[in-house]
């Protein structure tokens, strides 16, 4: 039986844990080696609520490295490519959808 103190988590499909890196705020994803990556394709993908909870718990414990970890939906294509599951995550991954006033 689930403890009433345990966080209720629902996921409706493949998901990753994402956060922002503490020193510069960059978008990061939890990888499968207990670390973080800026590359979504290297992120650990979870498919069950239990796996999501475990990965989120591990991510949240790293308060020095990351801010505000949360579960984000992804699409896993037939060839294994991982794509963001909504517009917000798409923008977080790709950057702003406009030209910046000063080109990078």
């Amino acid at each position: 039986m689930t403890s009433p103190l345990q966080q209720k988590i629902k996921i409706t499909g493949p998901s990753v844990i994402t956060a922002n890196r503490t020193w510069d705020g960059a978008v990061i994803y939890r990888d499968g080696q207990h670390g973080w990556t800026t590359d979504l394709s290297s992120a650990a993908v979870v498919r069950t609520a239990d796996d999501a909870r475990a990965l989120l718990t591990e991510s949240t414990a790293d308060d020095v490295g990351a801010i505000g970890p949360y579960i984000a939906p992804v699409d896993v294509k037939d060839d294994g490519t991982i794509e963001p599951g909504n517009l917000r995550e798409q923008i977080r991954r790709q950057g702003v959808t406009i030209d910046l006033p000063v080109p990078a």
């Binding site: 503490t22 978008v27 801010i67 702003v96 406009i98 910046l100 990078a104």
Partner: protein, 551 residues
């Protein structure tokens, strides 16, 4: 310009050292994010989608050329070469690294700039008319009172942890350019029948998910009692404002739930018990603040000099002059608005190179002073009319002379989902598309004054409720949709706009705005009937019919 004294300089420098230590402890893990979050917010540091965002205060919208150069320096050295001017006389840097923030703050402190109280549940940057001190017909320079309130509220121990953020705005002109009716406290400086200067005090205005227009709580509070009366309001709010629900914590909800009469009675009781205390402002104190504001040594000039008459033959110059140049209280001088709304550009952004160039032009043509308005444009407040042609050519070269001030392409927009962690939808691309649709100056001019405001979520940072045309982004099943309101305004006749119908998809927004504008052009009673007046006369139905008849 106001000259900070030693107390201000010490305070700002101490704050830099304090924040440097806090950042160091955060990066070493000595402080958790939970512990650090409030500390960074008190210094204007948010975490957005891609990076930290650093919000810097521009008290009462006044910047010196040197301060502007320092903003350019911060943009160039610590960010990505640009900054974003906001609707509350702040500038935001969108890509700053936490590790660099103490150095950026230290650099800004060298010119008296800081980020205190640009976030958090405290009194925020006090804002006012960007034409303060130079607008014809003004009662007096409202920045003197802004500065008094700034000194009073900065790090005020009793009001550093209010139920929610708290925003003041002050105007001293008949035409309200500071949007005082949509602030927690709005102050209208005026004179009573006896010739005494004081304030009409409005409370409970605000936008966000529950928009309210501020209500007058007291028609006249003498200047000497301003701080004690404000303190009474803040005390009542601090005591009764809700802390259990963030969405009901602003003073506007308290005023609404108590009713303005009951709220006013509570404030009056509080005020009568403490009005003659240390907060009473004697003339000496006010004069001391006033004396620290320096004004230019204007020359004796006359209006319409020959240089201006000659230049008016150039239709491009004349289009800009008619749109962007306003009368000044001194003969021979003008107030010049610099449009930060280029066609196809993000509203309110300025590059570091533009900021440096504007600073140089301010030195050359405006006694080294620049203003920031809530419409996300800048102004040079003291330009000799004979210099207008040369200034125009220089402004045009750096892309800030688009003659669209107050026209349909002078759009107020929040950063939206491109930057903001709260947003549901994008704002900037909508604004960009609209500016392209209405890029033709003759068309925009024919339409006349029309304010379009865009917010990417219900928090309403783009003030969509008070746009003549308001656009609010809402997310539906993962798609961007936009609700359209018309008839809102933020001036002395402030009113919240009316929703015209169901939200429309992202791809349709510009078409819908075009439909609304076309309906207005067809329905207006005469060429000089403004859009906002036509909506007031006609109601929303004709516009609704036009928009939804084929959708």
């Amino acid at each position: 310009m106001y000259a900070y004294d030693e107390i201000d300089r010490t305070l700002i420098n101490e704050r830099v050292s304090e924040f440097r230590d806090q950042v160091k402890r955060r990066l070493s893990g000595e402080l958790t994010e939970d512990e650090f979050k409030m500390l960074r917010l008190m210094n204007g540091v948010y975490l957005q989608l891609h990076a930290y965002m650093f919000r810097v205060a521009i008290p009462y919208g006044t910047l010196s050329a040197d301060q502007m150069r320092k903003m350019a320096h911060v943009a160039r050295r610590y960010d990505r070469g640009y900054g974003h001017f906001t609707t509350r006389q702040n500038i935001q840097f969108n890509w700053i690294k936490l590790a660099d923030l103490p150095d950026a703050l230290e650099d800004l402190a060298k010119v008296g700039i800081h980020a205190m109280q640009t976030s958090g549940n405290c009194t925020r940057n006090i804002t006012t008319d960007q034409w303060a001190g130079v607008a014809p017909g003004e009662v007096e320079d409202p920045r003197i009172w802004c500065e008094l309130l700034r000194q009073y509220s900065t790090m005020h121990p009793e009001f550093s942890f209010l139920p929610r953020k708290f925003k003041f705005a002050i105007t001293a002109s008949a035409h309200d350019r500071a949007a005082i009716k949509v602030h927690d406290i709005g102050l209208r400086l005026h004179k009573n029948d006896g010739g005494e200067t004081g304030f009409e005090v409005l409370v409970g205005g605000g936008l966000g998910r529950t928009p309210f227009i501020g209500k007058t709580i007291k028609p006249f509070v003498p200047g000497r009692d301003l701080l004690s009366y404000v303190e009474a309001i803040l005390r009542v709010y601090n005591q009764y404002g809700r802390r259990d629900n963030i969405y009901k914590a602003r003073i506007k909800i308290l005023v609404h739930e108590l009713g303005i009469e009951k709220f006013a009675a509570e404030v009056e009781d509080e005020w009568l018990a403490m009005r003659d205390n240390a907060l009473t402002l004697d003339d000496e104190v006010v004069e001391d603040i006033r004396s620290r504001f320096t004004y230019p040594h204007y020359k004796q000039l006359t209006d319409l000099p020959d240089e201006l008459k000659a230049a008016s033959a150039d239709p491009h110059f004349e289009a800009w002059r008619l749109n962007s140049v306003a009368p000044h209280r001194r003969p021979g001088y003008s107030i010049v608005t610099l449009s930060l709304k280029p066609i196809g550009g993000p509203p309110g952004d300025a590059t570091a190179d533009q900021m440096d160039a504007i600073a140089d032009l301010a030195d050359k043509y405006s006694f080294g002073e620049i203003r920031v308005g809530h419409e996300q444009n800048l102004a040079l407040p003291h330009v000799a009319q004979r210099d207008l042609p040369a200034l125009w050519r220089a402004l045009d070269k750096i892309g800030v002379a688009t003659p669209n001030v107050n026209l349909v392409t002078d759009i107020i927009a929040c950063p939206g989902l491109d930057y903001c962690s709260l947003a549901n939808t994008r704002s900037i691309p909508i604004a960009q598309e609209l500016t392209r649709r209405f890029a033709n100056h003759d068309t925009a001019n024919l339409i006349g004054r029309l304010h379009v405001n865009i917010s990417g979520c219900i928090n309403a940072c783009g003030h969509h409720h008070v746009g003549h045309i308001g656009i609010l982004g809402v997310e539906k099943n993962g798609e961007e949709f936009y609700q359209i309101t018309i008839g809102g305004r933020a001036d002395e006749h402030a009113v919240v706009g009316t929703l015209i119908g169901p939200a429309v998809p992202y791809a349709d927004v510009a078409d819908v705005v075009e439909d609304i504008v076309e309906a207005y052009l067809a329905l207006r009673a005469r060429p000089d009937e403004l859009f906002i007046d036509a909506v007031k006369r006609l109601g929303v139905e004709p516009f609704k019919e036009r928009v939804y008849a084929t959708r």
